[in-house]
Symmetry: C2
Subunit: 454 residues, 2 copies
Amino acid sequence: MATIKQYIAEHENRFIEELFDLIRIPSISAKTTHKEDMIRCAEAYKALLLSSGFEKAEVMPTKGNPVVYAERIIDQALPTVLVYGHYDVMPAEPIELWKSGAFEPEIRDGHIWARGADDDKGQSMVQIKGFETALKLGYVNCNVKVIMEGEEEVGSPSLEEFCIEHKEKLRADIILVSDTSMISKDVPSICTGLRGLAYWEIEVTGPSHDLHSGHFGGAVANPINELCKLIAGLTDEDGKITIPHFYDDVEEMSPEEREMIKQIPFSEEDYKKFLKIDAVHGEKGYHTLERNSSRPSLDCCGIWGGYTGEGAKTVLPSKAYAKVSTRLVANQDFEKISIDFVKHIKSIAPDYIKVKVTPLHGGSPYICPTNLEVYKVAEEAFEVAFGKRPLARRSGGSIPIIATFERVLGLKSVLMGVGLESNAIHSPNENISIDIWKKGIEAVAEFYKRFGHK
Amino acid sequence: MATIKQYIAEHENRFIEELFDLIRIPSISAKTTHKEDMIRCAEAYKALLLSSGFEKAEVMPTKGNPVVYAERIIDQALPTVLVYGHYDVMPAEPIELWKSGAFEPEIRDGHIWARGADDDKGQSMVQIKGFETALKLGYVNCNVKVIMEGEEEVGSPSLEEFCIEHKEKLRADIILVSDTSMISKDVPSICTGLRGLAYWEIEVTGPSHDLHSGHFGGAVANPINELCKLIAGLTDEDGKITIPHFYDDVEEMSPEEREMIKQIPFSEEDYKKFLKIDAVHGEKGYHTLERNSSRPSLDCCGIWGGYTGEGAKTVLPSKAYAKVSTRLVANQDFEKISIDFVKHIKSIAPDYIKVKVTPLHGGSPYICPTNLEVYKVAEEAFEVAFGKRPLARRSGGSIPIIATFERVLGLKSVLMGVGLESNAIHSPNENISIDIWKKGIEAVAEFYKRFGHK
């Protein structure tokens, strides 16, 4: 019998052709003119899933673009894997910067170049072809379900409702997702955390109308000055966030996790050069790679008020506004944080201004514990495929749907993404290295070779 | 011989007609389409000054609109008064809110209604007709010169150069100006101070380009957060400005001045109601009427950066900006303050951001000491005309040209303005009470009756 590597090598050309067929359908969810392409793409995935070894597949309606569902149930007593991916892609603009057509996949320098080559057509194929490989070699000893959504790039507006409605159908033990990135081609990693988010708009009102700063300046509170004081006070000299109880639920990193972060190749000099800054800045006692992923942060994302045109117009404005966001980490509850924030701002606002705080958005953080049995299986699978034990690395960004899966379906996700920063997702000349792509397929197959076999 | 009151009563109708003739010329300096009206109006003032008793009058060119100059020299040994006023007016928009034509003066309810009824055609007529009255009654015992500029409403861009060029011609002992307001019709006052101004734009740069707040938030300084810290730190909990040496040259109010301020009718409740605020706020230890006129202030006039549209876009922006102004009081030097401010911001800016501070504007404060002999003459003149000793009151605003006169010509100005806040200068339905206008003329005549007679 062939090994996993051999099977992949033998079928590589077909795998690539199958991926190319998916890529050629411009399934751009952000543009309503592509509605028909969405359906075409969902149907193409359905056919592909059936030909890849799934026994049942269907295109299921949602409020928005349909979800493709597939399953291969071999024994209800065995554990079940739920694979998540998305078949929609970002728009290709600016078109003129592409070296080859965004929807005309091309191989150059050992890479596949096209919109979706990585995100998420290429990576979802890692899951599907990894499954096929394991299945054909007789390694699959679990039930496998798949959902491919068509609205990930527009914020997954229909998926939570879909999960609630089909909770029973989606019952599983673990979710596998290939939609994240590794540290580098030489440093394989598994994404073990995503930050959550809480976001507010603050409106400060001073006098009821704009005033002459000569006639009133000094005697009436200025809403911009006061807004600045409110925002300035949200972080202290040590870079800590001052909202009461903010850190109460923060799960401190384990010594093991901090040790692993130290192994990530990182040059502060290169980082500063890239950002053109003279110094990094963040929470005291933590490294840049901890600050941007495993620790919460507070950023004012926008601020405005008064005169913002050219020159020196004097005014004591009536209002000033800011948009403030926090990135949250395990186990912070964004709803609790949101309430605490509003309460805090209200409590520190002086009586000479009026302050309105409006929560605008929120999402839970996500963490995949590295001592989870299934994580260890994925880790081993990566080690076999990439020749190195993958580092566990949390990402600083947010993928709200992963936290939604945990909340609605009660399931942890293992984020087996094999993307690279250089893959230029969402940008012109998106690409994926065929070598890494094949190693990803191998890792998924190795996962099935181990999972459910004890 | 008639008294001053009698002369004014006898000639009232002519005075009003003369004012109406000036008002009917729409001398709007902000609009280039009114260039010819500016010349017409200057010529009309020249004719009026000659018919009012000045011996020489001329329309003198400047880089911009001409200056009307007039003089009546009776004896080089006698003191000389220089009268300053302006013949240009603000645009009349919004036209639809006027009850009668902006340039068709009308008398209703004892008021003259028209653009310029107060600012400054009506008030400059107070000076001219006050002089005429005193002259006709044989009271004038000094030399009198007049300059009427045509660009006050656009910031007097040509007047400083005019003063430098004609310094000898403008030689005088004191300047009289009627272009300010009194506390109320029942509380006559003389404006004894104007605040100066220093104004800067601050640009804070963090990373060289906008960043994903998930991937970088917490590890890279956010320029909005940092700008807020800079601005928040410019004032302390007592409402004091923290720029080093800022208060070094501030002239403290005399106990007498503070006593006079206490006599100004002021209801904090009405003030708060008018501004719809729950509390006033300013420098600890000072009253609202001191804070807004006799004490310096710091206002952020504008702020902007990051995402300011609808909703919850997350971004860690590259740049943030603010416009900061201070109002200065005697004897603060705006150039020194400006340098101190830039130095201070530079010194407190942390190394993880770049800060650029650009001075945009500045003007000196002005103070007319109430123990000045000529001030006492004006005070007596007001007391006779209005039946009450006028309060000395500083204004919180700035009229940069008054400080320029002091700097270039070395002359103090006595600000004999008889406007009222209800006169709605710069707004629709500008007006002046004929009764107060006549009292103003009387006060100027009473001034000449006293000045130069000892």
